[in-house]
Symmetry: C3
Subunit: 349 residues, 3 copies
């Protein structure tokens, strides 16, 4: 597996070369998307290595920042291009994709090997309630925007977005504190006793280089979204929700399935649901705050369709992990829910 | 009880005679509605007998097809008449009616005899998550329709409806496979060891005759809906949601209450929640697909009011069965929820 | 603590005097708001004392009526002034405030002292399903109003409101019957064996005087809402949702935190969730029915924003109490949810 990802690193120089000789946007789009996959993987590994050496508190903060580095990078470059709808779509896609596609595939794969797989309900539900809080934090501004009197609407929504974003980031940091300081025993032991294999220097070098390369690839990816959307007749919404989200979460996807296949469901859930929570409670509000620096600021107001997809995903995941057991049919249900939402975004012209 | 249903069979020839001598639509409406009740009962019994003889796999398929034969027949005749709103209303009414009225009466009746009744949470929640998936499958097209740009809206919604319907039927068949093949032990033993009492020939004959008669009655019933709505000043929505739904589920209603009174709550839940799931995940998408053959195709887009009734019913049933126990007050809560929804549909001019 | 409340009683004559010498509305608003706090406390205590002496059945009824005496009084005076939006906002605020602010502070405070606090899931969920029923009862009329054809809309919504209100009050009385007669063992023992300390005469006298004084203060409070809203530039919605709701529930707030700090979580939950249930299922419909006597009747139709706040609060409380355990982070989540909603109401011009 590791060799496969190392081999994929060759895609980064190929993509750079391709962008210099001005290949067609369609080719550049797929090259850069694929190139991000191994980079995300190495960013993840370097973060984990550094966390293992740095002690829980700063380790938690590291994971919070670099855990979704690719989503944040793609988001920042898209904000710079003014592609606000693409940013919102890819945030939606990352949340929905982690909850339904990643978790669904993991549960389904695990379920084909084991009749019933068990996991820690309390830890799963701790994440679930944070997700529901994220749903509240994203729903209130949307309804606010739809019902506020039009005169003061934009300014008031903007203030609300910024305040809610600050509250979300604070809560996310509190959840890191909760998980690593006050209640670590609630979470899987497998996650706590990770044995570092790399030196600090090696970890920092890899983290630095992989993040730099991922930033470059994200830039190329984002620049090609508009021409690709035009060329293939796909909507920017679909590209954001499905393509960008799958690319950005490919690493999580692989790990979650591997863990489920080894019957380590606590880890599989932590990766998928934890990643969705991180994007909703950290990446999304960070991008909202960062957008103030760009010409077109982004509010927390997601459109009804995106919001419905997020709310329904959170509800079904809650119901499915709520009993502390999983089986192949529950995995299938999540995958079908994902298929329905993906088809709808594809057709939503 | 059995004799009572046999005696009610006399209503079938009476209704046929009445339709020949052209009785008033009001009388024909109530005669045909009542005539369907015993026929639904015999279709159900013949299906169960055949299933017991045919082995689980084909038995499951039989139940899937004939389990809601009356709803499907009424739906097909109403589609032929172009009464698309009535079909959607009666699907809504069947789902809401099974979840709130049938289950509510069963839990309330059981609760007047037993202080607390217990049942298998896991099996109940397996059905509950399928129901939530049905909610997703019905909500996404509705929001899609409301938010899609108007130019391509009808065509895109039509495609989405058909694709989602295929996904729903596939999932439903997978749930049958799950229940009878890979995880039968999750479900009540009472359901598995049914001892067939009729010969195959007798079962097939009864199934054939009862279905034929039910089709005839459905035809008469559906034809009288429009004049009855005009004559009594009732809305077609109310007739679909309340009257047609109660008639189509009278058999489930009786069995669920009998089971609850004998403290066989697993069966009572399986009948009511299982029947709602079957209608949502099988009957509804089958009617959507079948509607392509008629001049007015029907989409999966339910109106906001119907959708809200379904979503709220699914949520409260989840909460009430989620703890694996029931009592009279929980039954009352479901009945009050039903009363609120029924009154609203009655007043919704 | 007790002495503090006794001392605060001095605010009642001060407020009366202030209203006679026509102090500015801003000062009268804050004086009367503060004056209500100790009165609500004594109404609550006198009710508890009387209940302990009067036997469970009439005790339950007493609590139902006087448990939210302040909310009812403020509501009635606001109805008289035609401030229908203020009444709805303060009902919303009382429900949301009890579920998020009161319960959140209690869980958070308890969580800073105890690692994990446990409570009876069944009793908590019994209240939770009643709350969800209240959500149904409030959502159906709102969607009805939005989707009904405009010709008959007002009259039909009015009828629906009255019928649903009657159903809600009946269900509430049934829940009292359930809690004190048929299933008292589900609820905390601490609540059942309250030892009366006051004589019946003393209790009745205090109840009478405190209610009278609370009525007077409510009258002054309500009259000052409009000028205060104008003067401070606050919306009436915000005053209702946040200010009036905090004042009306100050007593519950204090008790719930004290109970949580003593690790009596069953009582803390009963006070906060029970109080929210009481307002939703009893105070709200009573005010709807009472409003028929005033020139401007009030329907059960809450606006989308209020409804969303209530629905989301009920969902997150369900998730958080559903596992029978709490910790500081769960308390924080509820408080953050409250902050988001309060900020939104403040900005909602």
């Amino acid at each position: 597996m590791q060799y496969f990802f190392v081999a994929l690193l060759i895609l980064t120089p190929i993509t750079v070369a391709g962008s210099i000789v001005e290949l067609s946007p369609n080719i550049l789009f797929f090259l850069s998307a694929l190139a991000i996959v191994p980079l995300a993987k190495f960013i993840g590994e370097a973060t984990e290595e550094l966390s293992a050496r740095s002690g829980p508190a700063s380790g938690g903060l590291l994971t919070a920042t670099f855990g979704n580095a690719t989503e944040l990078l793609i988001g920042l470059f898209a904000l710079r291009e003014g592609l606000i709808e693409v940013v919102k779509a890819s945030l939606t896609g990352s949340i929905v994709g982690n909850l339904l596609l990643v978790l669904g595939t993991a549960i389904f794969t695990g379920g084909t090997r084991y009749k019933t797989q068990r996991f820690n309900r309390t830890a799963a539900l701790a994440n679930a309630s944070t997700l529901l809080l994220a749903v509240i934090a994203m729903t209130i501004p949307a309804i606010f925007f739809q019902t506020a009197p039009s005169a003061s609407r934009s300014a008031a929504t903007e203030s609300l977005s910024l305040l809610v974003s600050l509250l979300m980031i604070t809560t996310y940091l509190a959840s890191v504190w909760f998980a690593i300081r006050t209640h670590p025993y609630l979470f899987s032991e497998d996650m706590q006793h990770y044995q570092a294999k790399w030196t600090v220097k090696k970890s920092i070098t890899i983290l630095f280089l992989a993040t730099l390369a991922a930033a470059w690839m994200s830039d190329i990816l984002v620049r090609s979204i508009e021409p690709v959307a035009l060329g293939l007749g796909w909507t920017q919404l679909f590209i954001g929700v499905v393509v960008v989200a799958i690319v950005g979460n490919a690493a999580e996807h692989t790990s979650a399935i591997l863990m489920a296949a080894k019957d380590k469901m606590d880890l599989a859930l932590q990766i998928s649901i934890g990643s969705a929570t991180q994007i909703a409670m950290f990446a999304a509000p960070v991008l909202v705050l960062a957008s103030v620096l760009f010409p077109h600021p982004m509010s927390l107001v997601f459109d009804t369709f995106e919001l419905a997809a997020i709310i329904l995903s959170v509800l079904i995941v809650n119901l499915i992990v709520g009993d502390g057991e999983s089986n192949w049919f529950e995995g299938l249900q999540l995958l079908v829910a994902y298929a329905i939402i993906a088809v709808a975004f594809f057709l939503h012209a």
